[in-house]
């Protein structure tokens, strides 16, 4: 506590006050060490390192492909399409049905529910920060958001709408003709422009500032001591950063994390390499508290259960287990701290204005 107070002083501005605080801080650390205080105490007082600041704050620029640079017209069109259930065969399911902005851009279901209320094999991933993702879908089968956006529309179990019949439907709605023309002049309403418009909107869905980000920026009192300790466990003993690293807390990679119930071959279906049997994409942890249940099959209801899973080291499935998975032997306090840290990754609520859909 006293160290927290002193480090608060150092931000008062005058350099001599800073040096004074630093000097006393160093002395206090020395005393703490002499008294045999354990490293957890020192970590709790820890400030983010300059490396942390560089590594974990969201880059201001959103990556976008040269062939589909974002414009207000493209984003506006994509947003209307995203919320329009007429993109589905039943005219009842929109992208937002599963990627619900009120539920962390996911659906709160263990696995997704699609056409005819059919239950699908994998959970709905959030679309938060997909602009920064190198691979789309749980098994990474699509690289670009432009291509990904069309997949679920056509998939029989999902939106069940062949694009060949969707395009004339959209062409029959005058406002869509105008919006497509404004967004992609002279290109018409095609599979390509449909995918590009949806991708443009999805790229705008980026994480907002969380307590963790404010802490990185030096704001005091926004992260609990437990969450700060959790960050140290996250990077250290629990080695979560082996996969969940960088501002988006993902390595854009694929791992079999040893879920006991998994019978899905995952990435192996796309790339038949042994290590990929039962492997799935590392999801972002931004807003993770909003997107329960967890894992590609939704088998864990809470972050506490997730931490228990990683603590166990996982169980081989499909004859495979990622070599980063090991028993962690975390204390109850460390587990609670990890959960507190993950909850501190929840950004400020987004104000999403649902668009009025064009009428026929």
């Amino acid at each position: 506590m006293s160290l927290g107070y002193l480090s608060g002083l150092s931000r008062l501005g005058p350099s001599n006050a800073g040096s004074f605080a630093k000097a006393i801080g160093v002395a206090a650390i020395g005393i703490a060490m002499a008294l045999g205080a354990n490293s957890a105490v020192a970590q709790a007082e820890m400030k983010p390192s300059s490396e942390d600041v560089k590594k974990y704050l969201r880059p201001a620029a959103i990556p976008q492909p040269r062939k589909n640079m974002m414009t207000p017209e493209r984003v506006a069109l994509g947003k209307v399409l995203f919320f329009d259930p007429r993109l589905s065969g039943s005219n009842f399911i929109s992208c937002a049905t599963c990627h619900n902005p009120a539920m962390g851009w996911s659906d709160g279901q263990p696995t997704a529910i699609g056409h005819g209320m059919g239950v699908l094999a994998r959970s709905t991933p959030t679309i938060l920060n997909t602009a920064y993702q190198r691979f789309q879908m749980w098994d990474g089968r699509k690289r670009s958001l432009e291509k990904q956006a069309l997949g679920p529309i056509e998939a029989g179990g999902e939106m069940a709408q062949p694009l060949e019949s969707l395009l004339p439907e959209l062409e029959a709605i005058p406002a869509y003709v105008e919006m497509f023309e404004a967004a992609y002049p002279g290109e018409g309403i095609t599979k390509a422009t449909l995918g590009k418009a949806l991708a443009s909107f999805e790229r705008t869905i980026v994480s907002t500032e969380s307590p963790f980000d404010r802490w990185l920026k030096g704001v005091d009192g926004v992260m609990s001591e437990s969450a700060i300790r959790g960050f140290a466990v996250f990077k250290g003993k629990a080695n979560c950063t082996a996969c969940h690293d960088g501002f988006n807390f993902t390595d854009n990679g694929f791992h079999n994390i040893g879920l006991p119930d998994n019978k899905d071959q995952g990435r192996y279906g796309i790339k038949p390499i042994a290590v990929l049997k039962g492997a799935f994409k590392t999801p972002t942890l931004r807003d993770v508290a909003l997107t329960a249940p967890y894992m590609h099959n939704g088998q864990y209801q809470t972050l506490e259960e997730v931490v228990e899973h990683y603590d166990s080291g996982g169980t081989k499935n499909m004859d495979n287990l990622d070599p980063n998975m090991k028993k962690l032997h975390l204390s109850q306090q460390e587990k609670a701290d990890l959960v507190a840290f993950m909850k501190a990754l929840t950004g400020d609520p987004m104000d999403v204005i649902v668009p009025q859909l064009p009428i026929k």
Partner: protein
């Protein structure tokens, strides 16, 4: 002289023959920050000669799994941790796409002349 010793001599003779006959070069390609790095430079393309060997060295604090499913050469080096190295010799000319199974953004086109 027992059979084991003969085997050893055979192995030594074989090693000498391969190293002299091929006069092959050896290259180290590091896996660092989820990229392929040669002499400190990130590479997406690399050219060697037939018979040359590449040492794939993991210089990241997590596992990599280098593989190729190319027509030229199909191999899967499996997962290996920081500091470990696995070797592949490319005997025939052609082109091989080399990737990391765990981190598919790691991608290298190798030309064998």
């Amino acid at each position: 002289m027992n059979i084991k010793s003969w085997k050893m001599i055979g192995a030594v003779a074989f090693a000498v023959v391969t190293s002299t006959a091929a006069s092959a070069a050896e290259y180290t390609i590091e896996q660092k920050n989820k990229t392929f790095v040669v002499n400190g430079q990130q590479v997406e393309e690399f050219t060697i000669k037939a018979g040359d060997t590449i040492h794939f060295l993991n210089d990241d604090p997590f596992f990599h799994n280098i593989f190729s499913l190319s027509d030229l050469k199909t191999f899967d080096l499996g997962s290996y941790p920081a500091g470990q190295m696995k070797d592949v010799t490319f005997d025939a000319p052609g082109e091989a796409e080399i990737e990391c199974a765990i981190h598919p953004e790691m991608y290298l086109v190798l030309t064998v002349e």
